[in-house]
């Protein structure tokens, strides 16, 4: 059995959305920063086990859209029909995560039935323990910390997402 899900990557400019996607799809990384203009669509199939033990393939159709200071200023038509949002911020740049709480509240109230995952990227640049404490202090609702550079937790993020789609 298989099904397709539309995932949209959200977040500020240069938080590593495209790098995260590139690591997940092609297992590659580049230090060079190229700004995303408009949108690029990629696909990858992840197979997970259903509660009743059979394998289910989730085809992720991932929309990597241009970065925005606020989710509110993202082109609305890109967000329609989305099954899951991945909100990415840069753990090394507090400007990209200080409004996370409001951004997530906005997403959850505007798209109530859509799964939202909050991802702190570029974990390779900081001390993981320190940043976890800081995010906890600021009450930033982070689901997972990743590094597109080292690949840490990237596959795990999408596997977790697939499992939630399959098993609820």
């Amino acid at each position: 059995m298989s099904f397709s899900k539309k995932i949209v990557l959200l977040g500020h400019f240069s938080v590593g959305k495209t790098s995260l996607l590139r690591r997940f799809i092609d297992d590659q990384f580049s230090e060079e920063y190229i700004v995303t203009i408009g949108v690029q669509v990629k696909k990858k199939v992840v197979t997970v086990k259903h509660k009743e033990k059979q394998d289910i393939s989730v085809s992720f159709i991932i929309w990597d859209i241009e970065g925005n200071k606020s989710v509110k200023s993202t082109r609305k038509s890109y967000l329609l029909g989305t099954h899951g949002f991945i909100y990415v911020f840069d753990v090394n740049n507090d400007l990209t995560y200080k409004n996370t709480l409001e951004e997530i509240d906005y997403l959850k109230s505007t798209y109530p039935n859509v799964l939202v995952k909050v991802v702190g990227n570029k974990i390779d640049l900081v001390n993981a323990k320190n940043i976890e404490n800081e995010l906890a202090l600021l009450k930033i609702p982070v689901d997972i910390l990743t590094s597109a550079k080292t690949g840490e937790n990237i596959d795990f993020l999408f596997k977790k997402l697939a499992e939630e789609f399959v098993n609820g």
């Binding site: 397709s4 408009g38 949108v39 696909k43 159709i61 929309w63 082109r75 329609l80 029909g81």
Partner: protein, 274 residues
């Protein structure tokens, strides 16, 4: 030993070293002359250096003189457009002429075939149609001669861009169809958003010899890739088929059976030339 002989002997003793050096220098000069004046020897020494420099020049040429050449060519073309047209016309003209000749040949063969089938059922029908509609047979044959083909059909969920069903004639495209559906939806969303005309939807994308016709429904849209010329009549025919498909889907069930739908689309379009 007289005085002179003694002096010479003394000279020999004193100048022995200098003479040896002078002889050495003389030999070196002779060798040098030989290596310069004899072409073979000279090129043996100089060629590797020239080759190396030449290679360096070739590598650095795009950086060093490339921009100058490009701007000079651009300026030259700008300043002498008529000359450029004169120079290119025979080449491009020939190509166009050849292409038109070949297309006319195909058209001629097509019309000949149709005329040869004058006594066939199709010819008989055309004859009657011509008499009733007043359109002469040549025009009817010409309109029959233009062919177009449905290459691909995508049925895509409107908001998410998720592919629901598709038809492809042969092995089409290197890009994953689900990604194509996503990108098509992104382009469509962008255009519809950017121009913000209420209730307006993108209906046609043209690229080279292909057209993508988009037929919008409430929850999904059909994107049909067509090659060749699609006139109004054929477009209506195509739209009718897709509307009928939609009606059949609604009749069958509110929930779309994707396997059944895929099969149906393939059945309709596999052997269809519009």
């Amino acid at each position: 030993m007289n005085q002179e002989e003694k002096l010479n002997k003394l000279k020999d003793i004193l100048l022995m070293e200098q003479r040896a050096q002078a002889l050495l220098v003389q030999k070196q000069i002779a060798d040098l002359e030989k290596s310069i004046n004899v072409k073979k020897n000279f090129s043996k020494r100089v060629d590797p250096i020239i080759d190396e420099k030449l290679q360096e020049f070739v590598i650095n040429m795009p950086k060093t003189i490339g921009p100058t050449i490009t701007s000079s060519i651009k300026e030259e073309i700008r300043n002498s457009q008529d000359d450029v047209v004169d120079a290119l016309f025979p080449i491009i003209g020939k190509m166009i002429k050849k292409y038109i000749q070949s297309e006319f040949q195909k058209l001629k063969e097509n019309i000949n075939n149709q005329v040869n089938k004058k006594f066939s059922i199709k010819g008989f029908k055309r004859n009657i149609k011509s008499k009733f509609t007043g359109v002469n047979q040549t025009d009817l044959i010409l309109s029959d001669s233009r062919d177009y083909q449905v290459e691909q059909i995508f049925m895509i969920e409107k908001n998410s861009g998720i592919l629901k069903a598709c038809f492809s004639r042969g092995e089409k495209g290197y890009v994953d169809k689900e990604m194509v559906s996503g990108m098509l939806t992104a382009i469509k969303s962008f255009i519809e958003d950017a121009f913000q005309k209420s209730n307006q939807a993108l209906e046609l994308i043209e690229y080279d010899l292909y057209k993508i016709h988009i037929i919008n429904f409430k929850l999904f849209y059909f994107a049909t890739v067509v090659s060749g010329v699609l006139d109004t009549k054929s477009k209506d025919n195509l739209e009718d088929k897709l509307y009928q498909l939609r009606i059949d889907m609604l009749k069958d069930n509110k929930e779309i059976d994707l396997k059944k739908l895929n099969k149906k689309i393939n059945q309709i379009f596999q052997h269809e030339f519009f």
